[in-house]
Every structure is written in structure tokens, then in C-alpha cells.
Amino acid sequence: MNYKYILKDLLESRGMQMEDLKELYDDEVHIKTEPENFKGLCLGLHKELGSGVMMLFAADERSTRGVFVIRCVFLGAKYKRWFIVNMDVSPENPRFSSLAKDIFSASLFEREMKEMYGIEPIGNPDPRRLNLHDEVWPEGAYPLRKGFDISKIGSTGSKEYKFKKIEGVGVFEIPVGPVHAGIIGPGHFRFSSAGEPIINMEARLGFTHRGVEKEFEGKSVLEAVKLAECVSGDSIFGHSLAFSAAIEKICGVTVPEDEQYLRVMILEIERMYNHASDIGGMALDAGFSFPSMYASIIKENILELNKVLTGTRYNKGFNTIGGVTGLLSGDKISHLSGSLEKILKDFKELKDMLYSSVSFMDRVDTTGILKKKTAEDLGAVGLAARASGISMDLRKDLPGIYDKIIFNMARQAAGDVLARLNVRIEEFETSAGIIKQVLEKLDSAPKQHQPKSINMAGGSALGYVEGWRGPILYWVRLDTRGIIDRCKIVDPSFHNWTALTFAVLGNIMPDFPLCNKSFDLSYSGNDL
């Protein structure tokens, strides 16, 4: 079905023309609108496409065009395209009409724009800052504006963050963090509970904020690939790939087929070791340590396999703009096939151990339910969304090279910890299947590896990858010299942290670690 039918009505009812629509590359549809139509158009697209706000961000184009530009990105899976609505915002008293009350998934993005650019979302019910904590950062300093100068910031902040207050007889608050008991990233959780069950949970994040997006600006694309690898340590390859995909679109680079397959292979390996690690983590958080140790052996074996294949345990430096930095020799491929069999055998044992333990199954079954309706309303993505019955996987929705590979999307309906466990187990096995298919295809694909030469060009594009946690999105704009002017990153964790705070409601406190692990969200990918 052609997407133009749905857009025609949406546009014409607002006095706009089909000429306001621009197709870019083969998967982006851009709609330029006036500020008064922005909200209506976004709500219309949200309804028609059934997509939450995937990205909503600003860019400072005051030096070239004298305005801030706001872009709102929706996924049109049916039409195999991204729909991007954009509008100019005047730099004097920058403001726009908030979407947050109608689409929840816009809320955090709007707060982010407010703290980073000083663009006010009129009508957003939550004025608190996300990453720039009130205790250490003054009001009125907007770091993502061009020309921001750290030395001109006078006082540091001194305000205190206000948590939601739950009051009543027998209600007490439990603050946790930012430093947690385990070896894990920092974040603050505030629980309110009456007796055992949690009646409210609020996550205050931003503790690992490092100014990543600002760091991208002014860098050449090759420097920036290295930076993309440092955004989230468990999705190193995924982030690097999503960034490269954006640059490849802008510069019109075609990646040779065999290198595309190698990328798929490494991306699936990344999915496997993370899923293994999380399955073990869930067992550990239910107090079941033997399978947890078993899973850590599987993870270690995969990391060592990485070392053999790409030279580093986390595949750092293997991806580059235009493809990969080296092809895999015959012995590496045979090593991979051998290791894969061993890993799958271990994994089957792990699976049997977990599924045959009645007490473990009792812990995970019906614990931490994220209802489908809630997941849709919050705009949950990736693995957590699939476990709640939402069909969403960029490997199917916008497949690229995945079109040539046969696999099923793992999906569960229950939305509990068990459902997320099942999705992980199924995806682990699916990934192994994908790698086997890739190995067959690599045999016949022509070997075309050569040093990459890229003709840099200006422009902007959206790069995306279905990482193990969900869709990783990079919107990048290059200036005419090929230097990065703006890079907006959205890690799936950014959408899913709120989903976790809803999934734990009604569960007892001791089940929180289990619920948390079943989502396993990134602190650093969220905080940037």
C-alpha cells in the first residue's frame, strides 16, 4: 500500500500540499511543516502508523538558517519507511506545543530538548531536567547550543530534585542508588511501598551523562566511529553499525555484500553473548547461582570467539564506514562453526536446567508484567515490546540484508519476566541459525574487500540497527566538509526505562532485581 494515501488526507486537512513531502534515500519521508501544524501532523502520523515517537530532537541551525529545527521521527513498518516531521523554531523565546499529553513517548524527548537547547515544550506536565542534574548544573546553560562555552558558566546548581510523593498510612519510601550493590552502572530508584508490594517506582537517571552528543560534533566520521563504540559498552558493534549506516547513506557508499554478511554475523554474536549474560543474570537474581555461572561460561566462550574472529573481545574496531576492516580467513570460519556447536550444546543444557526447575519457573512466571496496552502507550521497543506481544523488529520491518535470511521474530504475549526470558532464549537460538546461514552465503558471495575510500558529502540521514536490546537510532548531519554538525542518538533503553517502572508495580520488593534484569537496560546508552 502506498503511504501517500494516508498522508494526503493528513496534509490536505491542514491546508498543506503533497509538495511539502520529500522522499530521501529509499527509506525516509520528510514532511516540512509550520509550527501550528506540527502537533496535529505528529498525532495523525502516530495514529495512522501505530508507532510511538521513535526520536524527537532539536538541532541548532542558527548560524546557517537562523532557526532551531525540531524533528519528530515515526516508524512506518507497513510502508518500510521512517516518517520525519520537521519544523523551524524561532531562536527568540524558542517554544512549541508539547505532544507529551497525547503521546507519552514524546515526553522524555521534550524534557531533553528543554535542558539541552532551552526550547520550551508548552504543556509538558513534567518540567524536571533529566541529565543535567539540578545539584551540579545551573539554570539557563544549554550545552547543545552552538557556541556554548563552559567557562562562561558561573554558579553551579543548588536546587534539589523533587520525587513524586506517595502519601498515606503505612506507605514508606526506599531510596536505592546511585551506587548499587552490584558491579553495574549508577542510577537512583525511589520506591514507595505499603507492606511488600511496590506501589510506585521512579527512576532518576543521568548519572553517567558524559555529553556524548556534543562530543560527536566537530569530529570527522572516522574519529566518530570510535566514539560510537563508547556509547554503550554492551552494544559496541550495534552502535558503531547504526552510526556507520547513517554516514553511508549520506555519502552514498555501497557496502559489498560479503561485508554486509560479516556485519550481520558480528551483530548476531553480540546479541548472543548479551542474551546469555542476561539469562544468567535472571537466574542469579532469583538466587539460582549454578545456571548463572553456566551462562557466564557461555558468555566467556563467545567473547573468546570474538577475540579470534575480530581481534578484540567486544569487536572494537571491526566495523568502519563502508564495511568491515578485515575479512575472515578460512580457519577463522571453521573455528567459528566449531565453537558455535559447542556454545549451542552448552546453551541447551542451560535452558533445560532453567525450565526444569519448578521454583525458578515459579519466580519468573507472572512476575513483572508489562501489559501490551501499557507497552504501546509508553512506546516500548525491542525485546521488551516483543515479550509483551508487539510485533516490532527492525530486522523484519526494514530488513536490508536480513531480507535474504530466513528467521522468525521471537514473540510472547504475557509480558512477564518469563516472557522476556523466553524471547531471549528463542533469539539466542535464532541468532545461531542466522550465523549458520551467513556462513553458507559467505561461501558464494564474491570477496571484494578493499581499503575504503569515501567521498565525503554534506547532508543528513537516519542510521538504524536492531541491536540486541532493540532499535539503535542515529540521526547524523554532516556539513559540506564531512564534519559532524549534529548527531542524535537514541538507545532502546531511553524508551524502555519507563516501561520498567510500570512493570514492577504490584510486585514485591525482592522481585525488583529480577524484573530489572529481565529488561537489562543500559545506563550509559540512556544518559549519553
Partner: protein, 171 residues
């Protein structure tokens, strides 16, 4: 239960005396580990307890620290353990370039530790801020906030690097 017993029997000891390619690695872990154990006995009486704090790392370093506790590297057998509270710790292991938001929490964690105590930094970000050193929101390394006794470089350092690093320091 039967599955666990079966796996325990069939899997045997994975803590690396394994044949083939990994043999040399296993050997190095063993020798490093034994030396380390002796050093810890000498310096700390019984064992070295470490509290880990992430001040804005990407999570790669955490992944490798956790790997040192897996059955293959099994750092606990040498008397080193990671503890849940700074009150139980001899050493503070810090990763990340120190985000402004974490500065206070880092100091408080350090202050909560009993004497004698020392600070180890791990990963390239923790020393001077690494790739994020010019950012508006990082303090630029742990040494700006706390006295650092040992740095273990790498992005991220491997589990073997981590064990080796601690050994070199205790000498």
C-alpha cells in the same frame, strides 16, 4: 536438580586447565593468581575486598570486571572479592571519566570506607577522562577527585589484565 547434578558431573572443572588453544591462558591465570594470593596474604592478612563504582563508564569495563568472577578466571579463589558495600571494602575500584553527577557519590563512597584504603582506577576513561576528556560534563578522571594508587589501562582491560594489574601493584 537432576540437571544440575548431571551438568556438574559432566562439565567438571572449567577453571582453566583446559587443553588446546586456551592452555597458555590458563597457565598464566594460575601463576598470576598464586602469586597474587601470596601477596594479599602478606599485605592484607586474609583477603582483599573491593568495592566497584561506575562514574560514567559505558559498561564495557563492568563487563570485564564481572568476567574476572566467572568460573574461568574465578578471581575469588585468590582471596579477592567484590563486595556490596564500601564499609566492607579495602579498595575502591573506579571506572568512567567521572560525570559531574557522580562526583559527590564517588566521594561519599570513598568516605564510607574504613582505613586503610586505596583507590584503583580501571579503563582509559578513568585516567584523565579518556575519549571524553574534553566534554562539558566530565571532571576529567578520578585523580581530580580522589588519590589514586593504581591504574589499570585498557578499553576495556581484559580479565587477565585486571588480575595482572592488581598483582603488579601489590608487589
Amino acid at each position: 536438580m537432576i540437571n544440575i547434578l548431571k551438568n556438574r558431573l559432566f562439565k567438571g572443572i572449567v577453571t582453566r586447565p583446559i587443553t588446546g588453544k586456551e592452555a597458555s591462558l590458563c597457565k598464566s591465570v594460575e601463576t598470576i593468581g598464586e602469586e597474587l594470593k601470596a601477596e594479599i596474604y602478606k599485605k592484607f592478612g586474609r583477603s582483599l575486598h573491593i568495592r566497584e563504582v561506575d562514574t560514567g563508564s559505558c559498561g564495557g569495563c563492568e563487563s570485564e570486571i564481572i568476567a574476572t568472577t566467572n568460573p574461568i578466571y574465578d578471581i575469588q579463589r585468590f582471596g579477592i572479592d567484590f563486595v556490596a558495600s564500601p564499609r566492607h571494602a579495602d579498595a575502591l575500584l573506579v571506572t568512567g571519566p567521572v560525570s559531574k553527577n557522580m562526583k559527590l557519590a564517588l566521594k561519599k563512597t570513598y568516605d564510607a570506607m574504613p582505613e586503610p584504603k586505596f583507590v584503583i582506577t580501571l579503563g582509559d576513561c578513568a585516567a584523565g577522562g579518556g575519549i571524553f576528556k574534553d566534554s562539558y560534563y566530565v571532571e576529567g578522571g578520578v585523580e581530580k577527585v580522589l588519590p589514586v594508587s593504581l591504574h589499570i589501562p585498557g578499553c576495556p582491560p581484559t580479565p587477565t589484565d585486571i588480575i595482572k594489574g592488581i598483582l603488579a601493584f601489590l608487589r
